[in-house]
């Protein structure tokens, strides 16, 4: 029997029992659709986090006060307070470390921010000129904190885009005064909207020079030092030099934690990839269930069509031809289901993207391929037993049964 004829014969059998075929397609497609959609969700979440981190800049080295036991790959370190001090002197010393391109200290606190008649509670960040470039922020208007000698501690402020619109609406703000706590600052710039970077509402913050923030919050310790290294490759060597420099400045004690973007990103990436694989695995179980259904349906088909199998054999069909015909039928059913499933899954992913526009919920290619492949394999695997049973039937017995 020619392969094309086997395919045609199996196709006729598939289309001859529409209800059975529809049910099979449904069962199989649900499994495949689940794989496609859930991986789209998982991978979308991963992409989202990766993008968020990449927005920070990939050459970023962050210094935190305090020694972390787990060497700083835990994202929770970003937000924990530690008693060890980092001084402005430490930050200045970073400028002299080889491989360092930009340095921005950071002091942070919340304070009242008043403009015109409006009053807001806002996060106020004390930092320096380089912070803008280092964090890859864009200015909407004006300029960022000054870098010129003698101007660095001027009473000026830069507003986040949301804070600006909440305080001033559409009124111009550049050159006008804003009150932060009990101090007055001249607004010199407004940031372009950035969205939520790393869980911090950047757009709702106000930025003032470091020394101004020290005075405002009555402190002299930094919560972070942001360092941009020359390139990604230099980041490890630079980290070592940074730590050594700080160690020397802190009486030989290594009392800081450094975090690199890569390490944090790597951890997130790993966690979210694991979740994606996990959900794919769970969805694959439903494929297995569908496979058992395929087997069951095919076994019923063999029983129902026993006289037909007997006839085919009487007409000269070899066992191999019968086996191939039934196997082809099983594979057609599973593959058809898989194709419907991929379509449904893509539709679901599209729905997800509509519902959560920030999430790039596209199913990864490997998931689509794996879904189709698994479905086909399931068809072969679970179609094998029924096909073998059909091929093994005794002609006379099979013919006799009606």
């Amino acid at each position: 029997m020619k392969p094309l004829d086997i395919l045609r014969f199996a196709l006729r059998a598939v289309t001859a029992y529409p209800l059975r075929t529809a049910l099979m397609l449904l069962a199989m497609s649900i499994g495949v659709a689940a794989v496609v959609m859930l991986t789209a969700l998982g991978d979308g979440a991963r992409q989202y986090v990766v993008n968020e981190f990449n927005a920070l800049g990939s050459n970023l080295l962050i210094v935190l006060p305090g020694r972390s036991e787990t060497r700083g790959v835990n994202p929770a370190n970003f937000f924990t307070e530690t008693p060890r001090d980092l001084s402005i002197g430490d930050a200045d010393a970073m400028h002299r470390v080889a491989g360092v391109v930009r340095v921005a200290p950071m002091v942070a606190g919340t304070s009242e921010v008043a403009f015109g008649g409006k009053l807001r509670e806002a996060m106020v960040v004390g930092t320096a000129h380089d912070y803008l470039a280092l964090r890859r922020f864009q200015l909407a208007q004006g300029q960022f904190l000054p870098d010129e000698e003698g101007q660095r501690n001027a009473a000026v402020a830069v507003l986040g885009s949301k804070l600006r619109s909440e305080l001033a609406g559409s009124e111009p703000v550049i050159g006008r005064m804003v009150r932060i706590g009990d101090r007055r600052y001249r607004v010199i710039g407004v940031l372009a909207p950035t969205g939520n970077a790393m869980g911090m509402a950047v757009d709702e913050m106000a930025y003032i020079p470091t020394e101004q923030a020290f005075a405002l919050f009555n402190t002299s310790t930094l919560v972070r030092i942001f360092i941009e290294t020359r390139d990604r490759a230099a980041i490890e060597a630079t980290r070592t030099r940074v730590v050594n420099t700080l160690k020397a400045r802190h009486d030989g004690e290594e009392d800081v934690t450094t975090i690199t973007q890569d390490a944090v990103l790597g951890t997130f990436d790993k966690i979210l990839s694991a979740i994606t694989f996990g959900v794919a695995g769970i969805a694959a179980i439903s494929l297995g269930v569908a496979g058992i259904l395929v087997m069951n349906v095919m076994l019923v088909a063999v029983t129902q069509r026993t006289p037909e199998i007997g006839l085919l054999k009487a007409l000269g069909a070899s066992g191999a031809v019968i086996r191939l015909a039934f196997l082809t039928e099983a594979v057609l059913l599973s593959l058809g289901g898989a194709i419907v499933g991929v379509a449904l899954g893509q539709l679901g992913a599209w729905g997800l993207r509509l519902a959560y526009p920030v999430l790039p919920a596209y199913p990864p290619y490997w998931a689509v391929a794996a879904g189709l492949g698994t479905a086909m394999l399931t068809g072969v695997l679970f179609g094998f037993l029924p096909a073998r049973r059909a091929a093994g039937l005794h002609v006379v017995d099979a013919l006799g049964r009606r």
């Binding site: 009487a314 007409l315 000269g316």
Partner: protein, 232 residues
């Protein structure tokens, strides 16, 4: 040399602990082109004999030579290949594939034999015309009358131009008139050289055959040809 030669054929079925002797010591020789009716009471082993002749079944003892070839040691697939080339079957219950049209049912043996579509189409067209089914080519079995169904089955059995046509009660499910039509059809095939072997309960049909083999209790009770003297 005869087309079909059976010598000391035994066929036993075991059901639980009772053994049914369906065929015992059967010796039959059939020449090419003969018209043979196999008759006998129910359970006498007629169908068992026909299945054996058609290589659907295997004897427990004895030898069966078909067209000079010993079939005793053939594997099921070798049997299938020989059936495809040498033997056509017509069954009492037609055995048409319900989802396939008349033309597709007729083409089935050629499809299974791997004959290409163009040649298939030619043979099927010819068969449809010869059996008066030209206007029923695209009908499914459930849209055909009993007589038409059996004609489709006969067309299918002969489309590969086998040497032997084996019919197990071909008129058993038909009324008297259509039964006669089918009988005439089979006889015309025989007239064209096909060896025709028919199992029948119909005395009228058995009368028409040139040779009658009467079975009883698994053995050949009488064979109208044996008086002529068959080598054995």
């Amino acid at each position: 040399m005869a087309l079909i030669e059976l010598a000391s054929i035994e066929r036993r079925f075991t059901l639980g602990d009772s053994v049914v002797h369906a065929l015992r010591g059967v010796n039959i020789s059939i020449e090419a082109g003969e018209y043979v009716a196999v008759i006998g009471p129910s359970g006498s082993g007629k169908s068992t004999l026909l299945n054996l002749l058609g290589l659907l079944d295997r004897a427990d003892a004895g030898t069966y030579r078909l067209d000079g070839r010993d079939t005793t040691g053939l594997s099921p697939d070798e049997q299938a290949a020989m059936r495809s080339r040498h033997i056509g079957f017509v069954f009492q219950s037609f055995h048409l594939v319900p989802r396939l049209t008349a033309a597709e049912n007729i083409a089935l043996p050629m499809v299974l034999a791997g004959i290409d579509a163009a040649e298939r189409k030619r043979s099927v067209q010819k068969a449809l015309a010869a059996f008066g089914l030209a206007d029923r080519a695209h009908h499914r079995p459930n849209e055909l009358s009993g007589g038409q169904r059996q004609r489709v089955a006969i067309a299918r059995a002969t489309v590969m131009q086998p040497a032997v046509l084996l019919c197990d009660e071909p008129t058993g499910n038909l009324d008297r008139h259509t039964g006669q039509e089918v009988t005439h059809l089979l006889e015309s095939l025989n007239a064209n050289g096909v060896t025709l072997i028919v199992v029948t309960h119909d005395p009228a049909m058995a009368e028409r055959a040139r040779r009658q083999i009467r079975m009883e209790d698994g053995a050949v009770l009488s064979d109208s040809a044996s008086s002529v003297g068959v080598a054995g």
